[in-house]
Amino acid sequence: MNSELPHNMPYRDDDEYVSRIVEQCTQQTLQKQYNYTHSKQKWVIAASIVSIVGCSAVALSILFQRLDNIKEMTQDSPLDTFLAELPDNETSMLTDYYIDDIPEY
């Protein structure tokens, strides 16, 4: 059968024409891949920036939170609270006592 029937296709497209089509498709593929890679790179850079900014913001907020806690702890120490609740005269007495009680060497 192979010798009786034609092996060529019934279209007018010659080799040169098909070669051009193949070349065109090759160029388009390379261009698409280039665009895809670059847009992917842009996304990676953007995502990195967002991550860095996000992480920094979280770290800073944790830091500020800690500082606030330290400040609150310092302000609300038991001695301060105790002294704050005492009447003025008692406070001075106590302070005086402490100061007077310190021996001098």
């Binding site: 059968m1 029937l5 060529n8 296709m9 498709c25 593929t29």
Partner: protein, 185 residues
């Protein structure tokens, strides 16, 4: 691009980022036309063949790192091209419709894309092929037009060699009958 490298070199080039583009151009230079005709025989329309060729190239370029070399490069790219062509044909069908139902419209498409008279041997052969089930037609094309060995066609289609040989034999009989009946018209 007149250098035709062997498949192993092309694959190695495609894997290396700095040689990828050159490797890809070599691959398309070596197999591009064959791929185009393989696709065109399945989808018939030139515009569809061009789209499928483009998608095939993109798939090859994007997935070359997954090519393990268990089969020949030609088999791998033919498999991608065949799948892409079948995917396009499926997109032309409705839900649950077989792609074989497209054969009539493909046959009409063939007439519009040729300058030859309907009883020209080339046209009659293609018309006869479009009477075959799609999978059988693809296997026949690869054996008859591309001269691929049955082992390679089996790799591409995933079919048994014995089945392919039987299908080819029946396809030849059907084609001969069709041409005998229609060439005198």
């Amino acid at each position: 691009m007149d250098i035709i490298a062997d498949d192993k070199t092309i694959v190695q080039m495609l894997i290396k980022p700095d040689l990828r583009e050159t490797g890809f151009k070599m691959l398309t230079h070596k197999y591009g036309q064959r791929l185009y005709w393989h696709i065109r025989r399945i989808v018939v329309s030139h515009n569809d063949a061009e789209d499928v060729l483009q998608n095939t190239f993109i798939k090859i370029f994007s997935n070359i790192s997954t090519f393990r070399g268990d089969c020949e490069l030609l088999s791998w790219i033919y498999k991608i091209a065949t799948n892409e062509a079948l995917h396009l044909l499926r997109s032309h069908t409705r839900f649950f419709q077989s792609i074989d139902t497209l054969n009539y419209s493909l046959s009409e498409q063939l007439i519009t894309e040729t300058d030859l008279p309907p009883n020209a041997p080339e046209v009659l052969l293609q018309q006869a092929l479009l009477k075959l089930p799609t999978q059988q037609r693809i296997a026949f094309n690869m054996r008859y037009f591309d001269n691929l060995p049955y082992e390679q066609i089996a790799e591409i289609t995933g079919k048994n060699i014995g089945t392919l040989k039987t299908n080819y034999h029946y396809a030849v009989e059907k084609i001969a009958t069709y041409i005998t009946e229609n060439s005198a018209l």
